[in-house]
Amino acid sequence: MNLRKSALEENVWTLLVKSNIIFQKDFHLEFRTRYAINAIILFAVISLTAVSFSIGPMQLDPPIQSAMLWIIIFFSAMSGLAHIFVREEEQQTSDTLRLVAPPTAIFLGKWVFNVVLLFSLEIIVIPLYIALLNVDVQGMGAFLTIIILGSVGLASIGTIMAAIVAQASTRGALFAVLSFPLSIPVLRSAIQGTWTAIQGGGLADCLADIQLLFSFTVVILTSSIMLFEFIWRK
């Protein structure tokens, strides 16, 4: 019998190739409907304008500025990151996906998608934030590093929680409820780091925050990869 060799084999390379295929598929679908991206960008822009509108010409203190930024990013993420798994569940394509791809590839593909989604949000929201709230970022290098690390951390938590929430009955509220406690280390370090960066701190000044964000993200990602198949396989 000539079974296709690839049918029963899984190695790191095929996993990466397959996660890329999943990512492309999701990107393509998102591009067509723009559901998630619209949701998160609208949320972020509305809350930014609301804050800017209410403070008028006043300038907020750096700690409030940095907390504001991360609150906006966090809640925007909560409004859009779950979509990636909920969509598969709602359109009943999740079983189809279960039958064609290994769980790890699915998780990685969706994770990359969520990271890209948050980055696209930030490309639009960060300039708006700087302009609308009169933020004078003095340490741009550290600022961007913290933003990037923080978003990857949030996207990692968001992705694994989305996988859990997609199988529960009350999805919307539950997603934020589940994600928030686990996001606190990320939010806390990111807010501190952003604060330091706005006041002119360099990379060396927020080293402790960068260290925490980085190691936390690696730990969450590793445990997610280990645990995802227990969520995915019913």
Partner: protein, 207 residues
Amino acid sequence: MIRIEARDLQKQFNDRLIFSQINFSLQSGESLAITGPNGSGKTTLVRIISGLISPTSGQITYHINGRTYAPHEVYGVIGLVGPYLQLYLNLTAWENLEFFSRIRGVPVDKSRLKRLMAHFGLAGRELDLLKTFSSGMLQRMKYVVALIHQPEVLLVDEPTSNLDEEGSETVYQLLEEQQKDKILIVATNEPEEIRFGRKRVDVTGQK
């Protein structure tokens, strides 16, 4: 050579027993019909065999070339058509085929896929979004997708639901073909389709 072995399969949802003591053994060249009235657990059994859900107790194993696998490890040799497996409606037929070929690790053979589409009466609709398809056309499309990787094990839940006579005829041909040297599992109540299973499992009495 593939052999599927089911031993004492039992499934419960919370405390509701769906079925218990399902036993069968199937190997390449054999076929199985799963019968039972609506709501008796035919679909649950199909999902267990294909590895989509796990049984509450009992075991299902695949023996391939002398090695033993759990169902979820052999998704590469399984093809499944069922009402609960949807395709991506916001992608075109061709994009769906391309995605499922690539993720299965099968080279995207344009002419072969076109022939398959034509065989199921979908010629010329390759570039249309699936959400413009009728339910019958979607059912045909599911067969095309399930056959992309020439599965050694084909599971079909309600093979001809939504299909017209011509579509049913094509499907019957396919089932005939599959049971010659591969494994075919059909879940149905239509007498016309039960004949495709040389072995039978009735889930009704199994409580």
